[in-house]
């Protein structure tokens, strides 16, 4: 099993550019999450999804959009990239929320200059 995969691993964007971070899981999990992690800090929830066709905002959704057309995929879209979006982005999935383990991808390191 591949678990949670993310692409790309690294990306440099110029201010105002757009990009999509890809996330795929092969564990048939209902729940998927996008987090950002700034250096030396914890995880901030951007968006999450409880199943295909359902998404909801987390703590820091501004500047991002998501979609969940299938159980497996949960892409994160950045429109009009800003330096404040420089961060490491992690995708995660879990069978259910709460006490269920979240499985994380390896992360995407994004720099906006």
């Amino acid at each position: 099993n591949a678990g949670v995969t993310q692409t790309p691993k690294f990306r440099i964007l110029k201010i105002g550019q757009s990009m999509t971070l890809q996330c795929t899981q092969d564990m048939n999990h209902n729940y998927m999450y996008w987090y950002r992690q700034d250096p030396g800090m914890g995880l901030k929830l951007i968006y999450y999804s409880v199943g295909a066709g359902i998404t909801d905002k987390g703590e820091v959704p501004n500047g991002y959009n998501v979609s969940r057309s299938t159980t497996e995929d949960f892409p994160l879209r950045l429109e009009l990239a800003a330096p404040s979006q420089t961060s490491v982005y992690f995708c995660a999935s879990s069978y259910q929320s709460g006490a269920y383990e979240q499985y994380f991808g390896p992360g995407t390191r994004l720099t906006v200059t």
Partner: protein, 111 residues
């Protein structure tokens, strides 16, 4: 938004020492998890606690959930360099579709 405060933020100790890190909130959680994250990787689950007062042991690591389910602690006995990493706690409210993460404790164990 529930807040989870972790302390200390940074901890640097010698191999063989004991340590405790804390995760505190004013809110009640239905469950609390501890994750460890190594540089360049995603977090990996260490333990989940769900019952107030619960104590779980994982080799040299002891996890405790507070009686009121508002706080938790992680105690490491005889720390080793392999314990180095970022320790994150995450709390989940009942029937919420998401968890809240603390800002983490960065542990460095020197040989």
């Amino acid at each position: 938004t529930q807040l989870l405060e972790q302390s200390p933020q940074f901890l640097s100790i010698q191999e063989g020492e004991n340590l405790t890190v804390y995760c505190n909130s004013s809110s009640v959680f239905s469950s609390l998890q501890w994750y460890r994250q190594e540089p360049g990787e995603g977090p990996v689950l260490l333990v989940t606690v769900v019952t107030g007062g619960e104590v779980k042991k994982l080799k040299r690591l002891t996890f405790q959930f507070g009686d009121a389910r508002k706080d938790s602690s992680l105690h490491i006995t005889a720390a080793q360099p392999g314990d180095t990493g970022l320790y994150l706690c995450a709390g989940a409210e009942a029937n919420a579709g998401k968890s809240t993460f603390g800002d983490g404790t960065t542990l460095t164990v020197k040989p």
